[in-house]
């Protein structure tokens, strides 16, 4: 393990990458026109890393200075990040002037990719643009772009420490970094795409990279299986997505955002049933990508990949692609602004899928012992919150209640931001734990001929009491968990509160059917409090449960910095950004006449606090305080009773962490061995048997069908071809008997034949 101070000189190659944006700005390039750099930089880095990795594999410079391609990847991601920040700053500075424009949107279109010349009935030709190349930038794009570039950069940084110090990855890391930057390109491209076809193409690139990276340890059977499962499950959704896009093309004759969103109802002539099915198909695609019920089975298994991959792809970025797609559906249903009437079921369906997933995933997370699996189910559950919020928002839009719709839309997008930051960080923190536990285990058994397979460094039952050993990680994980739970004033509280409150508002004031999702998200808030606290207490509090824990040190370089940065954002970002009106800013594309608040800073702070804790509607006040009570008090106390406990004598950690650990020991302890043997617990441990029944269903339907198809292919199709072949062989043998084999004879035949044809033709015409 290298000296960490010495390691940072490796960052020298990053300086030119950092200079690109200032140089372009001085040269007078518009920030929007530089947007292609965001996608181009990782796209160029991908072959460079892959090819140099193959050529220089094992060389000391490649391994030491370039970190097996990690530094190249980091430089390219820095170009993307700085360009994204540049566009963001320009957008915010210019936002005041363009706020009156339809949602403050900036679009740049550089070239036509596919265009057709169309011949009209009056014999005039015109060139019709089908697919162009360009970008579509509004506040939703920018938020997601910032999340993606920022987290890609930080997680690539983290990987330098995590991947390159693990002997199992020796000389294979160039594959990791190459696939990593390719994924980054897919994500950036999807977010920036200005039409549905490009969105779909980049969507598929992400799917491919997800498959490759889950299967990074392909020699492990479970990893290979998980990769296949993830690819095939999301493929189910992708097929639906493609069908949806084809229907959309059929309706609008184009897939460009600027054409479709300009007037989604085409002056009221669109058939709402047809559009409904198109949007449902898109939604199924989103469900597959974002791992929602019933296509959720791939996400927990995807944790077989390296931890940075789990952090980036399966928590912070790729799984948000589905949410982004659903967020883009707003113009279709927004009847206040050229939307199509009669699409109210869409919002309900989205909200129900979200509510069911949130509840189901949270309950499964109750009993998981693998630290990454808990986080995976938590991801599913939190994404489901955002889906619920978007569903409610779509419902509001389709009933013309733009104000409420705007707030919950912005809240959902804000939750996406908070969740991505917190969950990316939580996964990195869990990676730090796993990494150090693994190292400690290797250290403990150094030289001894031991079997690796009887010790699982991801199992929380082998941990406990790590708070004193890993002060930074435990503090980071505490803040991240608080943000996910929604502890008041921290991170996710602000956005989760908005979603829960607006779902209840929809159910109480307007639509009784919304009660289902509303009660589910409320219960899930408390359950989140339980399983996140349980994870934290099991890992960091109480007595060490394994001898390995004594030997854990927090010493790997490159790992702490991302944790610290993201902790600060998770802790303060929620309050800080909501005071600056991020909820309204995020909803700007779809709130066509919403004024931007011009209150003073203090007024804004008071307004936000009042809004969160003392809303005017008495029902919402009850709902809000119930949520806070469930997530802040009930959930964590139950978790503390089961898994909490003080550290060993003489061990201490950071101030807040120590206090929390001390507090967790004060609620008494409860034995849950009996409870964990109940049939419900068993069902939860088996993930409610979804995988079992899916496999059963597949083996009863797809496999017989495949066998039938194979039989048909072998006997009927091949049979016909073989019969033709063998018969022509037989025929040839018969004909061969009458031939002489002399070339002259054949020529004679040809001449006689030609003459007879002439004679015949002459006879017929004469």
């Amino acid at each position: 393990m290298g000296d960490s101070g010495n390691e940072y000189r490796l960052l020298m190659p990053l300086i030119p990458a950092l200079l690109i944006v200032p140089v372009l700005a001085i040269a007078g390039v518009e920030s929007v026109d530089a947007a292609f750099l965001i996608v181009l930089a990782p796209f160029i880095a991908f072959p460079i890393i892959l090819i140099s990795g193959q050529v220089y594999n094992g060389k000391p410079t490649w391994k030491g200075t370039l970190k097996e391609g990690g530094v190249i990847g980091l430089s390219s991601l820095l170009v993307s990040l700085s360009t994204a920040v540049w566009i963001l700053v320009d957008y915010i500075r210019g936002a005041r002037e363009i706020s009156e424009d339809a949602g403050g949107r900036v679009a740049a279109s550089w070239m036509d990719w596919i265009s057709f010349d169309v011949l009209h009935s009056d014999y005039t030709m015109s060139s019709e643009r089908i697919i162009g190349v360009g970008v579509w930038i509004d506040s939703v794009t920018l938020m997601l772009l910032f999340v993606a570039t920022f987290l890609c950069f930080l997680i690539c940084w983290f990987s330098l420490g995590y991947m390159n110090t693990d002997p199992i990855n020796e000389n294979r890391n160039h594959r990791f970094y190459a696939e990593f930057v390719l994924f980054a390109m897919g994500m950036f491209g999807m977010v920036l795409a200005d039409n549905f076809l490009w969105l779909f193409i980049f969507w598929e690139i992400m799917g491919l990279c997800s498959y490759l990276l889950i299967g990074f340890y392909f020699w492990k059977e479970s990893a290979a299986y998980a990769a296949k499962k993830a690819f095939l499950t999301t493929r189910v959704g992708d097929v639906f997505l493609m069908v949806g896009l084809l229907i959309l093309y059929d309706i609008y004759g184009s897939l460009e955002f600027s054409v479709i969103f300009a007037d989604p109802s085409i002056h009221g002539t669109v058939d709402s049933d047809k559009l409904f099915w198109a949007l449902m198909m898109l939604f199924v695609g989103a469900v597959g990508k974002s791992a929602q019920f019933p296509l959720h089975v791939w996400l927990p298994d995807a944790m077989e990949g390296p931890t940075p991959v789990s952090a980036l792809i399966h928590a912070a970025t790729m799984v948000n692609a589905g949410l982004y797609l659903v967020a883009r559906m707003v113009p279709f249903v927004d009847i206040g602004h050229h939307g199509v009437a009669g699409l109210d079921e869409l919002g309900l369906i989205v909200a129900y899928i979200g509510g069911i997933t949130a509840f189901m995933a949270a309950s499964i997370a109750f009993v998981q012992n693998d630290i990454k699996k808990v986080l995976a189910y938590s991801t599913m559950s939190q994404l489901a919150y955002i889906f619920t919020g978007l569903g409610v928002s779509l419902w509001f839009y389709s009933h013309g209640k733009t104000d409420a719709a705007t707030l919950v839309f912005g809240g959902s997008m804000f939750h996406l931001f908070n969740h991505a930051m917190a969950k990316g960080m939580l996964f990195m923190a869990s990676g730090s734990v796993i990494h150090e536990v693994h190292h400690a285990h290797d250290h403990l058994h150094e030289g001894a001929d031991h079997d690796h397979h009887d010790f699982d460094p991801q199992d929380m039952r082998n941990m406990g009491g790590l708070a004193s050993k890993m002060p930074v990680t435990s503090a980071a994980m505490m803040i991240g968990s608080m943000s996910i739970i929604g502890i008041p004033l921290i991170g996710g509280f602000w956005s989760k509160e908005a979603i829960v409150a607006k779902t209840w508002k929809a159910s109480l004031d307007y639509e009784p059917l919304m009660f289902g999702p509303a009660i589910l998200v409320l219960l899930t808030a408390g359950m989140t409090g339980f399983y996140m606290s349980r994870m934290w207490f099991m890992t960091f509090a109480g007595e060490p449960k394994h001898e390995v824990v004594e030997h854990v040190h927090e010493s790997t370089p490159w790992i702490k910095e991302p944790l610290v940065i993201l902790s600060i954002i998770s802790a303060l970002g929620g309050f800080g950004l909501s005071v600056f009106g991020i909820v309204k800013w995020l909803a700007k594309p779809y709130s066509y006449d919403l004024g931007i608040h011009k209150d003073s800073f203090i007024d804004q702070v008071i307004y936000e606090l009042e809004h969160a804790f003392l809303p005017e509607d008495p029902n919402l006040r009850i709902v809000g305080w119930t949520t806070i009570f469930l997530s802040l008090v009930i959930g964590p106390i139950f978790a503390a009773r089961v898994h909490g406990g003080s550290l060993r004598e003489g061990q201490s950690s950071g101030p807040l962490v120590s206090w929390l650990v001390w507090l967790s020991g004060k609620f008494g302890s409860q034995d849950v061995t009996e409870m964990s043997k109940s049939s419900l617990s068993e069902a939860l441990q088996n993930r409610l048997y979804f995988d079992y029944y899916y496999e059963l269903a597949l083996s009863k339907t797809v496999l017989p069908l495949a066998a039938l198809a194979a039989w048909f292919d072998r006997t009927v199709i091949d049979g016909i071809i073989k019969k033709v072949e063998s018969n022509s062989v037989l025929g040839s043998i018969q004909i061969r008997r009458v031939t002489t084999g002399r070339a002259s004879d054949y020529i004679l035949m040809a001449a006689v034949g030609a003459l007879s044809i002439f004679a015949l033709a002459w006879g017929v015409s004469g």
Partner: protein
């Protein structure tokens, strides 16, 4: 100027010689030459017709036919070479693989 019918007659005679030659000769090279003879008989007719009608198409066809004939001869000779290397002779009576 010669009457084109005389030229056409010459073409027919040449074609007949070529055709009979392909029937009765056993040497593959002679057969190839006879085929060329037939081709040129056809060319002669083209040229005659072209000069008779004052139309350039016949000349063009002839030029193309000559070019193609050259390619065909090259291929024919290559086939004969490989025939010689496998059979040791270029007599067409020896090359009767197809008969059984």
């Amino acid at each position: 100027m010669i009457d084109p019918s005389w030229i056409a007659a010459l073409g027919v005679i040449l074609f007949g010689i070529g055709l009979l030659g392909t029937f009765y000769h056993k040497n593959a090279i002679v057969v190839l030459m006879c085929i060329e003879l037939m081709l040129n008989a056809a060319n002669l007719n083209f040229v005659a017709a072209a000069s008779h009608y004052g139309d350039v198409d016949g000349w063009v066809f002839t030029a193309i036919a000559i070019a193609i004939a050259a390619a065909e001869v090259a291929i024919g000779l290559a086939i004969l070479l490989s025939l010689y290397s496998t059979q040791g002779t270029i007599s067409l009576d020896a090359a009767r693989e197809l008969s059984n």
